[in-house]
Symmetry: C2
């Protein structure tokens, strides 16, 4: 089977010759060739330079042998066009002008995605050209709740008390914020598909800080909104969050084709809970790649066994690859996934 088809087939629950695999943050700091590029340009400058985006997006494809590329960018990129400057520095991203009041929300723009983030679309076109059809290119965006959490918190948080304080104390303003972000991200994803993204992953990275009833009110409708903005059936859509063990059934209701699962829920249980109408993606603990290759193989086999033989499994880590991961270990994982999942040819 063509390496370019494996991932898209699995997303659509069609048969594959072996389980496709890619790695969240596969274009990232653990790769020396990525660090070499970053030694020359800052993180945000890299995101805004289409030729460099194409270069680092393609880097892991041959190095690791993965079955998909994911566009190098950041979920916070579209916030700038809404009027929210974002700063990336060593302490992580932060927003110097966070959203705190109804007036702050009222000031937010819903920008045209080409005007505000044309560099992303150009990055997609150049990456597609650089990939030459070898593997499909995944575009992505943050889900509205996660982006609203960044917008309101302004930076790192353990308690998420500012965003939840807003949700629980002033739901009217919270819904207006989520709706504006939802329109922005919906248009942004549609533009990515128009530019050539062959699949989409929606990162609701922080969904798991919400109780299921709060997720149902403040996150699910807006994740649906952005998924609905992508022309139906045009490209497979993956929805992913961490600590979503109590939310899997709701993630399966978003309209996504694939539910990404972190390492906390075994895939056999995850498949039972999301049902047969969606595929699953995951879910090796990223820290597994710090273990020796024999232990990595044992853990890969466990994930594959739990995923089972039914079509509809995309192998991935349960979260982004860690910067301290030895590249050889990532290669060993990809190789083990392909080898241990190889199906006999159809008669």
């Amino acid at each position: 089977m063509d390496r370019g088809v494996r991932f898209l087939n699995a997303c659509r629950r069609l048969p594959v010759d072996c389980t496709p695999v890619w790695i969240m943050r596969q274009a990232g700091r653990y790769l020396p060739e990525y660090r070499a590029v970053r030694a020359r340009v800052g993180f945000f400058e890299l995101c805004k330079t289409p030729d460099l985006v194409a270069e680092v997006t393609v880097q892991p494809v041959d190095r690791l042998g993965v079955d998909a590329a994911i566009l190098f960018s950041d979920i916070l990129v579209p916030l700038e066009g809404m009027g929210l400057p974002v700063v990336f520095d060593d302490a992580g991203p932060h927003l110097p002008e966070p959203v705190r009041t109804a007036a702050d929300v009222a000031r937010l723009a819903v920008p045209d995605p080409i005007e505000a983030t044309g560099f992303v679309m150009e990055g997609i076109r150049r990456t597609r050209a650089a990939l030459g059809g070898k593997v499909p290119l995944i575009g992505f965006a943050g889900a509205p709740f996660t982006l609203a959490a960044y917008a309101v918190e302004g930076g790192g948080t353990k308690s998420f008390s500012r965003i939840k304080g807003l949700l629980f104390s002033d739901p009217h303003t919270a819904h207006r914020l989520l709706e504006r972000i939802g329109r922005t991200i919906g248009a942004y994803l549609a533009a990515q598909v128009e530019a050539g993204a062959e699949a989409i992953q929606v990162f609701d990275s922080w969904a798991g800080v919400l109780a299921p009833s709060d997720y149902a009110h403040f996150a699910l409708p807006y994740t649906k909104q952005v998924i609905d903005a992508v022309p139906k059936g045009r490209v497979p859509i993956i929805v992913f969050g961490v600590e979503t063990g109590s939310l899997l059934e709701q993630l399966a209701e978003t309209g996504a084709d694939v539910v990404g699962v972190d390492w906390r829920v075994p895939l056999d249980e995850a498949r039972r809970r999301v049902g047969p109408a969606v595929a699953v993606q995951g879910n090796l603990d990223p820290c597994s790649l710090l273990a020796p290759p024999a232990e990595i193989e044992r853990r890969v086999l466990d994930v594959l066994a739990r995923a089972g033989d039914a079509p509809g499994h995309v192998f991935n880590l349960g979260h982004g690859i860690l910067p301290e991961t030895p590249v050889d270990h990532a290669v060993a994982m990809v190789e083990a996934v392909h080898r241990l999942s190889a199906r006999p040819r159809a008669a």
Copy 2:
């Protein structure tokens, strides 16, 4: 019913006149009278001064009207006696000499709890005297996995890559570390009960970073070990962690009488999963207390409704109370729990 009996009855799944309630970190920074004490003494000095421990432990009992007191201390306190100095500063606790090698593990002591932490036992005795039987006193300790994670990471971490790197790459050394911590904590808890603690909470705060199969290997046996060290049936034991949605069944197997549940799993589902042989504790999202009292009451009612009418529910937050919580809101929560759960007197 005597306020002193409500909490212990609920832990043992016996009938109560209304649902008992206490709050994790109820003696803490949100209370002005606690901040007044802390303005005079450092955190660790406070932990080591029995009269002050008694003072701050008792502070919230009348102020909030809660049904139990929990000893003011920190889960890292017993690590010092093992040979691991702990520093508490504004950036949170850290260990300047973390455990990284088999030789580091071999050097760890299993101290006598009276010699190493006699100040804790004296704090328990003075707190019991200060409480005068009004409400029971809960003692506590960290579970071995969580303490091992602190010992190996040495400080804050998002990925837990050092502790998991050890578990996955050198399980032999990891088990030796866990076993030593387990013996230390088992003796520490038994000494607390001997000194007068009337219930015990085991905080496996970071259990939720482990996949269920890793929890089964590296955490569950050692949590059992420390619970087994407390004389059987003498005091109720609560086991608690966050992000434990995939671990509830295993938490119910630890031998604890009560499983604490964070806010991510609705209590009706939690009770179904832990079964009728254990009680549950929880599980209001701590951020709920930032909302207006009417919204707090609505959320309290939801937790009570999900907990149902069967005996065996201790109301609590799903994690520690946030420093920015208005005291009046905590009072409103306690009052709402008692009022909304009041049972008609038995005929």
